[in-house]
C-alpha cells in the first residue's frame, strides 16, 4: 500500500500524475464506511426500543423491570391471535388497576424454553413465564419459586385440579400453575366417509379399511410420522390404542419391547401403506392443517385450529371424533401450558396475585381462546362448556379423559421430555412403516435409544 493508501492494482485503478496507482477506494473511505455502518447498527436497537420492539406489548411506556412495581411476562404467541389481544388487554387493565407496570412478551411457540434457558443461565429475566410442557418445570425445578399456596388456593376455589394437572410437585412443593392443555381429537371429512358408506371413524381399523377406499379417490388419511410434535403425539396415540407404552408407571422401567408395541407398529404400517402417502414423512406441525384445509385429507389428528382455519364450506363437511381406538381405548399425549415464577424474580408476590386474579375470571379467558385452551380445573369443565358445549364440538368436552401427560403412565420427567423433543416414537414408526428397519430392529432401535436417554 503506498502513501496515499492505495492498494495493489485492480479493477478501477488508475495511475495518478506521480506514476503511483490510486484506487477509488482508500483507507479513509473504508473507515468512513465502517464507521457509518457501525453507527447504523448501534442505532437500530435504540430505534427498536423506542418503537416498543417486535412481539412485545406494554401496559405503560418503558421496558419495565423486575421490582415489586413491575411485572414482566414471557409466553408464546397463541395460535388463536385473538387470545393474545385479549390477554394483553387483560394484563394492561390489571396493571392499571393494581398500579403495576406489566410488560408482556410473546415469542414464537417452541422458543419459550430457549429464552427461559438463557434466563436461567443468566440468573435474571422475566417474573412470570408460561412453559410449554409438563416436563419443563421439572427440568428447571431448582430455579422455580414455591407456589404451593397459590396452587392449593386456585384448586380449592375452582373445584380442584384434574388428574392431567398433577405434575410439577417436587419434594412436596408445587412449582407450577397449569393453565390449559391442547386436545388432539380426530378431525374427519364426514361427507367423504359417508360417500363410502363408512361411519364416523372410531378405530384405527376403520381408518385402515375406509381410508384405503378414500385414498383411491384422492383423499388419503393424514397422520404424520415425522419430526414434529403432532407426529410424536400421533405415534404415542397408536401405542396407547394398542396398550403399548415406552416407560412404566415408575417412570424408569423401559416397557417399549412388548407385543403391544409390535401390534401398534404393524397397524401403523397397514395404515401407511393402504391409506396414506409418503408426504406425511416430511410434515411439520402445520402440515396436517394445510392438508385438511386444502380439501385433500379425509382424516387428521390435530387441535381444532386446523378446523378453524379451514374455509367455511369445508368446515360444514368436517366433524370431530375422539382419538381412534385399537385394542384399547384411544388416547394421545397433549401440549400443556403451565406458569412458573422464577426464584430470581423480585415480584413473586405480584406474579402470584396476577395469576390468582387471572384464574378467578378464567371462563373469560377460555372464551377468548374460542375453546382452544382446555382448562385443568373441574369447575371450568362442567358441561355444557362455553363455545364447545353444543354442536359438533361437544365431544371436546371429554378431552381430559383421552389426554395423557408426557411419559404416561409414568410421571413427566426430564427423560420423558427428551423422548418427546427428539420425536423418538415418531422416528421408530417412520423407520418401520417405510421399511428402513424390520419389526425387531425397529423395536430394538427404540429400546436402545430409550436406554441411552434413561441411563
Amino acid at each position: 500500500m503506498d502513501k496515499t493508501g492505495s492498494t495493489t492494482p485492480g479493477p478501477g485503478s488508475r495511475p495518478d500524475t506521480r506514476g503511483e496507482i490510486r484506487t477509488p477506494f482508500s483507507r479513509r473511505k473504508f473507515l468512513q464506511a465502517a464507521g457509518g455502518g457501525l453507527a447504523a447498527l448501534g442505532a437500530a436497537p435504540a430505534l427498536a426500543a423506542c418503537s416498543g420492539g417486535p412481539a412485545t406489548s406494554a401496559s405503560s411506556g418503558g421496558s419495565g423491570g423486575s421490582g415489586g412495581k413491575n411485572l414482566r411476562l414471557l409466553l408464546w404467541s397463541h395460535f388463536v391471535p385473538a387470545f393474545d389481544t385479549y390477554f394483553d388487554n387483560y394484563a394492561k387493565t390489571w396493571g392499571q388497576k393494581n398500579h403495576i407496570n406489566v410488560v408482556v412478551n410473546h415469542v414464537p411457540t417452541q422458543t419459550v424454553v430457549t429464552h427461559f434457558s438463557s434466563e436461567v443461565a443468566a440468573g435474571t429475566g422475566h417474573d412470570l413465564v408460561q412453559l410449554q410442557a409438563d416436563t419443563q418445570p421439572i427440568i428447571f425445578a431448582p430455579h422455580l419459586a414455591d407456589v404451593t399456596d397459590l396452587h392449593n388456593k386456585i384448586g380449592s376455589e375452582n373445584g380442584g385440579w384434574i388428574p392431567l394437572a398433577q405434575f410439577g410437585n417436587v419434594n412436596g412443593r408445587w412449582i407450577t400453575i397449569p393453565e390449559f392443555f391442547i386436545e388432539y381429537p380426530g378431525i374427519y371429512r364426514k361427507d367423504l366417509f359417508d360417500s363410502v358408506g363408512a361411519p364416523a371413524p372410531a378405530t384405527f381399523n376403520d381408518l385402515i379399511t375406509y381410508g384405503a377406499e378414500l385414498k383411491k379417490k384422492g383423499h388419503p388419511v393424514g397422520i404424520g410420522f415425522s419430526a414434529c410434535d403432532d407426529s410424536e403425539n400421533a405415534a404415542l396415540g397408536f401405542m396407547f390404542a394398542y396398550g403399548s407404552t415406552f416407560i412404566g408407571k415408575d417412570g424408569k422401567t423401559i416397557t417399549f419391547d412388548s407385543p403391544e408395541t409390535r401390534d401398534a407398529l404393524n397397524e401403523a404400517k397397514k395404515l401407511y401403506t393402504s391409506a396414506m402417502t409418503s408426504e406425511i414423512l416430511s410434515w411439520n406441525d402445520s402440515s396436517n392443517n394445510t392438508y385438511l384445509d386444502s380439501g385433500v385429507a379425509s382424516f387428521i389428528l390435530n387441535p381444532i385450529s386446523a378446523y378453524r382455519s379451514a374455509p367455511q364450506s369445508l368446515q360444514s363437511k368436517c366433524d370431530f371424533v375422539p382419538p381412534p381406538a385399537g385394542s384399547q381405548k384411544g388416547a394421545n399425549t397433549v401440549t400443556i401450558q403451565t406458569w412458573v415464577i422464577p426464584k430470581w424474580s423480585k415480584a413473586q408476590d405480584t406474579a402470584k396475585k396476577f395469576l390468582a386474579d387471572y384464574f378467578a375470571q378464567y371462563e373469560t379467558a377460555f372464551k377468548a381462546s374460542t375453546g382452544y385452551d382446555m382448562p385443568f380445573l373441574n369447575n371450568f369443565l362442567k358441561k355444557p362448556m362455553p363455545i364447545i358445549g353444543t354442536g359438533k364440538y361437544q365431544i371436546l368436552q371429554d378431552a381430559a379423559s383421552w389426554s395423557r401427560g408426557t411419559g404416561w403412565p409414568g410421571p413427566p420427567t426430564r427423560q420423558a421430555g427428551l423422548v418427546n423433543d427428539k420425536y423418538l416414537m415418531a422416528d421408530v414408526f417412520a423407520k418401520y412403516v417405510t421399511g428402513q428397519m424390520n419389526l425387531n430392529d425397529a423395536v430394538s432401535y427404540g429400546v436402545g435409544q430409550l436406554k441411552s436417554i434413561y441411563a
Binding site: 492498494t7 495493489t8 492494482p9 485492480g10 479493477p11 424454553v113 430457549t114 434457558s117 436461567v120 421439572i138 427440568i139 428447571f140 425445578a141 431448582p142 430455579h143 410420522f225 415425522s226 419430526a227 414434529c228 402417502t277 409418503s278 408426504e279 406425511i280 414423512l281 416430511s282 410434515w283 411439520n284 402440515s287 394445510t290 392438508y291 386444502s294 385433500v296 426430564r414 421430555g417 427428551l418 423433543d421 427428539k422 420425536y423 415418531a426 422416528d427 417412520a430 423407520k431 417405510t434 428402513q436 432401535y445 436402545g448 435409544q449 441411552s452 441411563a455
Partner: protein, 324 residues
C-alpha cells in the same frame, strides 16, 4: 531491523528502537518504549476481549462436558470422559456424526465449486453488472430464517413449486418428489439450501483474491501461451491460495457447526436422517437441560475442526512464504 541494530548507542540501534523508521535524532523514552516491548500492551484490550468472548465459553463448555451438570439440580459431579464415552456407544449419535460429515463436507465442496463459478460472472466488467451482482448477493444478505420460509414452500410436500413446474413440464409424476420425506432427499435438500445461502460468500472471497493478483502475471501467462485452465490452475489459484484457503476454513467451520437450517427445515428428520451434531446438542443441552452431555456433543468436533484449520492455516503460511 538493520544489521547494526544490536549495537547500543549507534544510529542503527536508535532506528531499531524506533521501529526502523530511520529518523535522525533522539526520541523521547516513551516513544522508544512504545515501539519496544510495550507495544504488546496495545494488543491487551483485543486479547482480553477475545479471551472473554471466546475463551471463557470454551473453557466453560469443556468443564461442563466433564460433569453431569443439568438444570434440574444444583448438584454437579465430575464424571470425566463419561459423557463422551456414552455418546460413542449411541447409534443415534454415530448417525448424527455421519450426517454432520456429509452435510458439512458436501456443503463446503459445493459452495466452493459453485462460488468459484459464480465469481467468474462477477469478475469481468459489463453493462448491468451492478444489478447482476446485487441479485447474486441476495442469498447471503437475506436473513436465513426468511429465506428458509421460501425453501419450506419449495420443499412443501403438497405444494412444492419445483414439483409443480416439473409436473407441468411432464418430467415428474404426481405426487412428486418428497424433498423432506426421505432421509437421502432431506439431506440433499438441506445441503441445497445451505449452499444456496453461502455461494455469494464464496464468490466474494474468490473475487477478492483474484483482483489482488498482479495483472502482469496473467499477461505473462497469456504471452507464454497458457490457456484459461492453465492460467487458472497454475497462476491464479496458487497466487490467490492464501485468501481462498482462509475463506474455505471459514466456510467449512460454519457448515460443520450450522444449526439454523436443520432446526427450521427438518428438525433432524425424517427418521433422524438429517440429525446433525449441532441440532443434537441443542435438543440435549437446551431443550432437555442436560448441559454436560450437550457440551460433550458440541465439543466432539472441536479436535477435528481445530486440526483441519491448523492444516489450512499452515498451508496458507507456506504459500505466502513461497510467494515472498
Amino acid at each position: 531491523m538493520t544489521a547494526d541494530a544490536g549495537r547500543i548507542g549507534t544510529a542503527g540501534s536508535v532506528r531499531a528502537a524506533a521501529g526502523g523508521r530511520g529518523r535522525q535524532g533522539g526520541k523521547p523514552a516513551w516513544r522508544r518504549a512504545l515501539y519496544g516491548k510495550a507495544r504488546y500492551l496495545t494488543l491487551a484490550p483485543a486479547t482480553l476481549y477475545m479471551a472473554a468472548i471466546l475463551g471463557v465459553p470454551l473453557v466453560l463448555a469443556i468443564w461442563y462436558s466433564l460433569t453431569d451438570i443439568n438444570t434440574s439440580t444444583y448438584a454437579v459431579r465430575f464424571v470425566g470422559l463419561q459423557n463422551f464415552i456414552s455418546l460413542v456407544g449411541n447409534p443415534a449419535f454415530i448417525q448424527a456424526l455421519i450426517n454432520t460429515a456429509i452435510y458439512g463436507g458436501a456443503s463446503t465442496v459445493f459452495t466452493a465449486l459453485v462460488g468459484t463459478a459464480m465469481a467468474f460472472v462477477l469478475l469481468p466488467s459489463y453493462r448491468g453488472k451492478p444489478v447482476i451482482r446485487f441479485i447474486m448477493m441476495l442469498p447471503w444478505t437475506i436473513p436465513i430464517p426468511l429465506s428458509l420460509v421460501g425453501w419450506q414452500w419449495i420443499f412443501q410436500p403438497q405444494f412444492s413449486v419445483i414439483n409443480w413446474i416439473a409436473q407441468q413440464m411432464g418430467v415428474m409424476s404426481s405426487p412428486g418428489v418428497q424433498w423432506l420425506g426421505f432421509p437421502d432427499n432431506a439431506m440433499a435438500s438441506i445441503i441445497m439450501a445451505n449452499v444456496w445461502h453461502n455461494i455469494p460468500f464464496a464468490a466474494i472471497i474468490f473475487v477478492a483474491a483474484v483482483i489482488g493478483i498482479p495483472a502482469e502475471l496473467i499477461e505473462a501467462a497469456k504471452v507464454d501461451g497458457a490457456g484459461w485452465w492453465r492460467r487458472l490452475t497454475r497462476v491464479m489459484l496458487p497466487v490467490a491460495a492464501p485468501i481462498l484457503l482462509l475463506g474455505l476454513v471459514f466456510n467449512m467451520v460454519f457448515n460443520f457447526t450450522d444449526l439454523t437450517i436443520v432446526y427450521l427445515l427438518t428438525q433432524g428428520g425424517p427418521a433422524g436422517g438429517t440429525e446433525i451434531l449441532s441440532y443434537d446438542a441443542f435438543q440435549v443441552g437446551i431443550q432437555d437441560g442436560n448441559l454436560g452431555e450437550g457440551a460433550a456433543i458440541t465439543l466432539f468436533l472441536l479436535p477435528f475442526l481445530a486440526f483441519i484449520s491448523f492444516l489450512f492455516l499452515r498451508a496458507i503460511r507456506r504459500s505466502r512464504l513461497a510467494m515472498s
